[in-house]
Amino acid sequence: MSTDARLLELDSISKVFHIGGALTGEKLTAVNNVGFQLRSDKPEVFTLAGESGSGKTTVARLILRDFPVTEGKILYEGSDTTRIRGRRGTMRFMSEVQPVFQNPFDTFNPLRRLVEYLIETALNFGIASNRKQAEPVVDDALKLVGLSFDEVNLRYPHELSGGQIQRVSVARALIPRPKLIIADEPVSMVDASLRMAIVNVFKRLRDEENVSVLYITHDLATAYYISDRIAIMLRGQIVETGTVDNVLGDPKHPYTRILKESVPQPIPEVKGAWAKSIALSTMEVREYGRIGCKFAGRCPNVMDKCRKIEPPDVTTAGRVVKCHLYEPESE
């Protein structure tokens, strides 16, 4: 891919948080040298998967410019997003990249009607010049997610289910006609029977509306269901990335393996799958500070050098793995 064929590029970005006071606090590298690209010639759903504390949400917030990167660059259509200045630049960026948040019940002010947000978006981004013009725009966006203006009009957030609000949230994000949607755990707080409605919307956006989706989740099952490519994060680093069939069909990194194995499958026959017991860490946060591989403390295949040397990114079997096991033995 040449640079101009990239919609979004994360060029080895890091984010260090200072916890505590300015002089005295500790450092926590929440995102550690992370890089990936989304292609622009063809829309795709790219999943960033990882457990809580893996840094995936921080990546989302860095892309959305909620705070600046400590190192590296985030390029949107080839230009550095830290260079965006002023209200006009921000509005232009927001018309291309829109978010969907995790908690549907917090996405909209509980004291305001939902439809206000959609109409405001249409007005602020110049999609419509008055309320009357905005209504059909809003209706179109809601139809894309399987709702309609009449269903949502006059409603407060608490009058809809989490699944419905989340779809309203997607509809709102679609109004400025963005090219990329950053969806941070969009279904984790939605009931199981309603989840697929949202996930299917993302599929449809990719296939029919030419919108790319960065899908951030800890749920490997939905990730497998909708995404084209996936990156697995652990303690701020991407440990394995490739097409979803390769990475989840045949995981190579020991962490991805354990992760996949631990996902409960809704099939009673495979109950015995959990016979092996696994090592759990008591003080998970300490893994951030580890030299070498962050997974060394729990890894069943751990070697001496894993504790000392940070593993390189190795390309093998159609994916990139950050693990000493797959190092070419030329050394």
């Binding site: 909620d66 209200r87 509005m91 927001m94 829109q98 978010p99 948040f101 995790q102 908690n103 917090d106 996405t107 909209f108 002010n109 509980p110 004291l111 305001r112 947000y117 405001e120 978006t121 602020n124 981004f125 407060y156 608490h158 949230s169 709102r172 994000a173 400025p176």
Partner: protein, 285 residues
């Protein structure tokens, strides 16, 4: 508005008490405008009469009808409370919203100043100031002065509320709707900050009226002006308790209890009513 008052009167006992007390207070301050007695003059009625039909609050050793004197006192105290509340509200809301919404160094600097004011005893400073400006400061001046000292606690409350609102997703949603900061503050945050603003306004009035009483008792406010504080000052100066003229002290006590309690209960009940959680319950969430 009328419906709100009707709802509160029907379902909240505290509001009923507050309503009656504050009504009495307002009527009291209103009738000062038709007072037959000039509070600036002395020896207009017989001295030291105990409460009777003719003199409901009795008369004092300066030859004044305590009832009419108190109508002016209530009016002046309310006026002072409103001035202070207005001045300190402007500062508190500005500092609270700025520190909360901007964050970073602005926040840290504002808050370290703010916290210092919170723990600093204001009274000695006020005593110092009013001592130096004694006689040259009217009620308005005093109100503004107290307003300059009465904001830190409330600014801190508003800031902490804004800080938590800023972290809520709906603030970020509004940003991605393309809303301007001002719009977000007014439409997204204000409904949540409103209960605090309302409660602190009333608490601030209570505080400033109380402070004036303090300064008045010490003889540091303009003692020719009838206020609750100067009433106690004059009673003390004439040794009312020793002389057995207890009604002279009882009048400011009763009036201030009614006023303070009315204001406090009003803030409690209205606050619960406009609390977003109660409001959500009312719209059926």
């Amino acid at each position: 508005m009328l419906k709100v008052i009707r709802d509160l009167l029907r379902y909240d006992g505290r509001f009923r008490v507050a309503f009656i007390f504050l009504l009495a207070t307002f009527i009291m301050s209103a009738i000062s405008y038709v007072s037959p007695q000039d509070p600036g003059r002395t020896f207009q009625v017989p001295l030291d009469r105990s409460p009777s039909l003719q003199y409901p609050f009795g008369t004092n050793s300066r030859g004044q009808d305590v009832f009419w004197w108190m109508t002016f006192a209530v009016r002046n105290s309310l006026y002072l409370g409103l001035i202070t509340a207005a001045v300190s509200r402007v500062i508190a809301i500005f500092v609270g919203l700025t520190a909360g919404y901007r964050g970073g160094y602005v926040d840290r600097i504002l808050m370290s100043v703010n916290d210092s004011f919170v723990v600093m005893p204001v009274l000695p400073l006020l005593i110092l100031l009013s001592f130096l400006f004694r006689g040259r400061m009217g009620l308005t001046g005093l109100g503004v002065l107290m307003g300059l000292f009465g904001w830190p606690w409330d600014a801190r409350l508003i800031r902490s509320q804004v800080l938590s609102l800023k972290e809520r997703s709906f603030t970020r949603t509004a940003q991605y709707c393309g809303a301007k900061d001002f719009h977000i503050t007014i439409f997204e945050h204000l409904p949540f900050v409103l209960p605090i603003v309302f409660a602190t306004t009333i608490n601030n009035m209570i505080w400033s009226i109380g402070m004036e009483v303090t300064l008045g008792v010490l003889g540091l406010s303009n003692v020719t002006l009838p206020t609750i504080g100067t009433t106690i000052y004059w009673a003390n100066a004439h040794q009312a308790m020793v002389a057995g003229i207890w009604w002279w002290l009882m009048a400011p006590v009763v009036v201030s209890v009614v006023m303070f309690l009315g204001l406090y209960l009003l803030s409690q009940s209205v606050n619960e009513y406009i609390d977003p959680r109660t409001r959500l319950r009312r719209i059926g969430a």
